[in-house]
């Protein structure tokens, strides 16, 4: 607002920008290190830190009134609810009712990287239904 207009400095924006760049490099380097189980939590921690920097300083939530803070906090609560409850549903189903695969894991087993599985993508052109695959009538 006008009251802090004259004494406002641009320096904090550059500091936040540098912090965001450092975090981007961090997430890139750690993302390529194949950390296995820890890759997803670490990447999400970095992403949440970056988004907090953007929300608090670039979007000025730091100096906003309470109502705006409640609004954005509420939306994040609902994001957490929809993702956690939906994944909890899928994770606790009878195993055969879910698609093939295991719970969260990020590293490809060595045997899978060495030999390609038997699955062969059907040959054919883009736009045409693949040969040998029954099409719905």
């Amino acid at each position: 607002m006008a009251e802090n207009g004259e004494h406002h400095s641009a320096l904090p924006y550059f500091l936040v920008w540098v912090a965001l760049l450092i975090l981007t490099v961090t997430t890139y380097v750690t993302g390529r290190m194949h950390l296995g189980t820890w890759a997803l939590p670490l990447a999400m921690i970095i992403a949440v830190t970056k988004s907090l920097l953007v929300i608090l300083f670039f979007m000025h939530l730091w100096e906003q009134k309470g109502a705006n803070r409640i609004v954005i906090a509420t939306s994040f609560v609902f994001v957490a609810l929809i993702i956690s409850l939906t994944v909890a549903d899928v994770a606790t189903r009878f195993p055969l009712s879910t698609p093939a695969g295991a719970p969260f894991g990020t590293d490809i087993p060595a045997e899978l990287e060495e030999t390609a599985p038997e699955y062969q993508p059907p040959a054919g052109k883009i736009g045409e239904p693949p040969r040998g695959v029954p099409q719905p009538k």
């Binding site: 924006y13 009134k65 939306s75 093939a100």
Partner: protein
């Protein structure tokens, strides 16, 4: 107060004191607070819109962890990283534009907004190169998936989610560019003053949200 500022539509001339004050608000401060609250509510609906896609990603990543990890490794990681830097820097230039309007330097603010638009165009250009490469490699959703590099069930789901999420995000980049373009034009006409700049502030909020969503898309789609 700048008398040269254009009168907004619906302004009540008899009030005289402030050309920006709409007739149904008792003071400019209340008007600005209401605008900000409305924008934050809108941003919440945007966050929840993307939350649906993130939920879909979470479910299919849970079901096909190996296919998703393998597919992410075949994405154009250089482009994703470069685009992250481009968007973060464009967020900085938008924040600087608001700072310059606050301190009464409208010309610098217009320059910052134009730089932001240039960054947005760069982002879309890199995205276009990426999409072209994926189409060329047949890294496509559903039955159009013909990529030889990853032959795992679930890989086509990764690309379906990739195109949905980056596509919806790209649409938001386009909308943000239009909004910033209008705001840059209005700023160059002297519409915003150090006492009244809520329009440029709200446009900035939208652009930061676009950056925010990309901050989550980048590690999920490219890195892990």
């Amino acid at each position: 107060m700048s008398e040269a500022a254009a009168l907004p539509p619906g302004e009540h001339p008899a009030r005289g004191a402030d050309p920006h004050l709409a007739h149904h608000f008792s003071s400019l401060e209340r008007q600005v607070d209401a605008s900000r609250l409305g924008m934050w509510l809108f941003l919440c609906t945007e966050v929840l819109l993307f939350a649906g896609l993130f939920t879909g990603y979470a479910v299919y990543r849970y079901s096909f962890p190996i296919a998703f990890a393998a597919s992410a490794r075949t994405s154009e990681i250089w482009a994703g990283t470069l685009n992250t830097v481009v968007l973060i820097t464009s967020s900085l230039t938008v924040a600087l534009a608001i700072h310059f309007v606050r301190t009464g330097r409208q010309r610098a603010a217009v320059v910052c907004l134009l730089i932001t638009l240039a960054f947005a165009l760069t982002f879309l250009g890199i995205k276009a190169i990426e999409y072209t490469a994926h189409f060329h490699e047949h890294q496509l959703p559903g039955r159009y998936y013909r990529f030889e590099g990853v032959r795992l069930p679930g890989a086509s789901m990764y690309w379906a989610l990739y195109f949905l999420m980056t596509g919806l995000h790209g649409l938001h980049v386009l909308i943000g560019m239009s909004v910033l373009g209008v705001i840059a034009w209005r700023t160059s006409r002297g519409y915003y003053t150090p006492h009244y700049y809520v329009g440029i502030e709200l446009a900035g909020l939208y652009w930061h949200l676009v950056d925010l969503i990309w901050i989550f898309l980048f590690p999920l789609l490219y890195l892990i």
